[in-house]
């Protein structure tokens, strides 16, 4: 979403108010430098000790708004997840789920999968983010690591089309089985139907100027 025409579908800059610019820049978080603060330094140290390939597997570490995000390479995701769960210094027993985010402008990194993990033992949270290209949207399934990931991965497959290799039964879960397309992708329209009432027609939601 590099360019958004704002609420009223205006052309040009359209900003007559000075309230704000109407063109949004694509967002890309920069890598954070140590010290990360909070328990994040300890956590990163523990992971580095437990996982010799840390520097190879972790693309960047982002600390933002008091939350720690590790950007992991897709090929290493399963290893990192296993260590995060099993290492006694880390002990992320809870894989709370996976969520997709679609960034159509990030070439070859269009589809992101975001995992939220929780450690009851240490009362800590961490987020893993993995990017895969839309042309080859394959990620290892983490159902073996956290059984509860099962439905979350199915939902992410359903909504974004990310294929989790090794999932026991990767089928659609919310949409009907014969549905075409993946509704949460940015190029998938909101849809809806126009409604006529007393001669006046209200356009379908995706056709309304304020939603374009």
């Amino acid at each position: 979403m590099s360019e958004d025409k704002g609420a009223f579908g205006v052309q040009g800059t359209g900003d007559t108010s000075g309230f704000s610019g109407l063109v949004r820049a694509a967002h890309s978080a920069g890598s954070s430098e140590r010290p990360y603060g909070s328990y994040f330094d300890d956590l990163a140290d523990d992971l580095e000790r437990a996982y010799p390939e840390f520097n190879d597997a972790i693309e960047k570490v982002v600390v933002d708004r008091g939350e720690l995000t590790l950007f992991v390479k897709a090929a290493k995701l399963f290893d990192v997840a296993t260590i995060l769960r099993n290492n006694e210094k880390l002990r992320f027993e809870y894989g709370l789920g996976v969520n997709g985010v679609h960034y159509p402008d990030q070439k070859d990194r269009e589809l992101h999968a975001v995992y939220e993990l929780l450690s009851l033992t240490h009362n800590r949270r961490i987020r893993l983010e993995v990017a895969v290209p839309e042309s080859h949207p394959h990620l290892p399934s983490l159902v073996e690591v956290w059984g509860g990931m099962n439905w979350h991965e199915r939902e992410t497959y359903d909504m974004f089309g990310i294929i989790f290799d090794g999932h026991p039964a990767l089928t659609r879960i919310l949409m009907p089985d014969d549905w075409q397309g993946h509704p949460q992708r940015k190029d998938y329209p909101l849809g809806g139907i126009a409604v006529e009432y007393k001669g006046a027609t209200t356009p379908a939601p995706s056709e309304r100027r304020s939603y374009r």
């Binding site: 704000s20 789920g97 939220e116």
Partner: protein, 446 residues
């Protein structure tokens, strides 16, 4: 009388009339044959339109006699695309959508969402204390009304009608309070980014105190009916067993986890909205079964009442303080009031923007139509809803509308435990197991 002679049932005349002896046939051979074929199975489709499945939940059961050998859930019948829709509305309008996800716990959806938006905005510490106290008050009232449905419908599904009547009587008292405070009984969109939509009306706190006393008395009715009741215990004890290891594997939170003996409650372990300033206990049970979950929910009712009482005291102390963040670039400009016909615009506010201040009108218009901008980034916030951890993953690209809103719904996650809880048990116990998870399909399917 027919003279037709049935080849498999010979008959003879007796003083009481004709008596048939059913014999013959090949029943023995048939039974042996069925027993020899391993693939032979009965698959029963239960729901989605079924009075005992807690909403439009479809259960696909593989049975051997009355024993369940496999249970699978089919969901998605209530999928409404709420997450997609929020991407087309302002951050404030999002509240109106997310409140409709888990429709029995709307306040928790709103609070989780608003805490996320506030974290993105970086105004978490600027939320007025009175607003946080009102949020806590509303959440705990909501926990009571939600648990009441869980207990009432759970009992009803097992054939106990009276507990449902009592539970809905109690729930009604809480919904009356919601109506008094927000103007709406359900799906209130009362919690807004920056605070809450409006202050508690005059005399509201006294009414809440009255209701709390009433509820405390009323809860005893259901306690007397169910706790220790032989039939109830036979239907719920050792049923739907899921121990701590099972909960951890499946990511189960909430009363189901606490029924396995672990006192994990986000209100204690990762407090938000000032929960660390309230005195309450985390209720647990050790039985890992439906009865344990029932006891946990019953115990949580009393704890919620305790929190509400403390919140009322705090509200008295904070009388007259603001309920919305001071930053006018974020605070919702429209003022609401509850009139005789429900909630509507405050006439004072209308007078100001229409008759007195052009700038106020412009400000109102811009903020209501376009909304405020939220700095780019992503956050995850979680609250302890009646069903477990309700988490919100919000992504902003810096615009006036969310880039992505995702709810980690405890109902959705916990429903995965259906198979683990009910396989190997009787088919009738599936109802008890599902009811003890207390899934709300609006939350499961979103």
């Amino acid at each position: 009388m027919s003279t037709y002679a049935d080849p498999y049932a010979s008959s003879r005349e007796t003083t009481e009339g004709r008596v048939y002896s059913v014999t013959g046939g090949d029943w023995d051979a048939l039974a042996t044959e069925i027993g020899a074929t391993k693939e032979e199975r009965v698959v029963v489709n239960m729901g989605p339109q079924h009075p005992s499945t807690h909403g439009v939940l479809r259960l696909i059961l593989e049975l051997e006699g009355e024993t369940v050998t496999e249970a699978r859930c089919g969901i998605g019948y209530l999928h409404t695309g709420i997450e997609k829709n929020t991407e087309y509305r302002t951050w404030t309008q999002g509240v109106t959508f997310v409140t409709r996800m888990d429709y029995l716990a709307p306040i928790f959806n709103e609070v989780a969402y608003c805490l996320g938006v506030e974290k993105l905005l970086g105004i978490t510490n600027d939320i007025p204390e009175r607003a946080s106290v009102i949020r806590v008050l509303m959440m705990e009232l909501n926990r009571i009304s939600s648990h009441m449905v869980a207990l009432g419908t759970g009992a009803l599904e097992l054939g106990a009608l009276s507990p449902m009547i009592f539970a809905f009587r109690e729930r009604e008292l809480v919904l009356d309070l919601f109506e008094m405070i927000s103007g709406l009984r359900m799906n209130m969109a009362y919690v807004r980014p920056g605070g809450v939509a409006q202050d508690i009306p005059a005399g509201g706190v006294a009414k809440i105190r009255e209701t709390v006393a009433q509820l405390r008395t009323n809860f005893k009715d259901n306690e007397k009916l169910l706790i220790g009741n032989t039939i109830w215990m036979k239907r719920t004890q050792h049923i739907g067993y899921l121990d701590l290891a099972g909960c951890t594997t499946l990511g189960i939170t909430g009363p189901v986890l606490r029924s396995a003996g672990l006192a994990w409650d986000l209100r204690k372990t990762q407090p938000y909205c000032g929960y660390e300033n309230y005195d309450f206990d985390v209720v647990t049970a050790n039985s890992c079964d439906v009865y344990g979950r029932f006891l946990v929910r019953m115990g949580e009712l009393e704890q919620s009442l305790r929190i509400i009482e403390q919140a009322c005291d705090k509200l008295d102390r904070l009388e007259g303080q603001p309920v919305m963040v001071a930053d006018k670039k974020i605070a919702w400009p429209s003022q609401l009031s509850v009139g005789a016909d429900g909630m509507g615009n405050s006439l004072n506010h209308i007078r100001e923007i229409m008759g007195e201040s052009m700038e106020a009108l412009i400000h109102h218009f811009k903020l209501v139509t376009e909304g405020f901008r939220v700095p780019a980034g992503q956050v995850y916030t979680a609250v302890e809803s009646p069903r477990g951890e309700t988490g919100v993953h919000l992504v902003s690209d810096g615009g006036t509308r969310p880039y992505r809103v995702h709810f980690r719904e405890p109902s959705f996650n916990n429903l995965q435990a259906t198979a683990a809880m009910s396989e190997g048990g009787m088919v009738a116990d599936i109802i008890a197991a599902v009811a003890s998870i207390d899934p709300v399909m609006g939350g499961v399917d979103r």
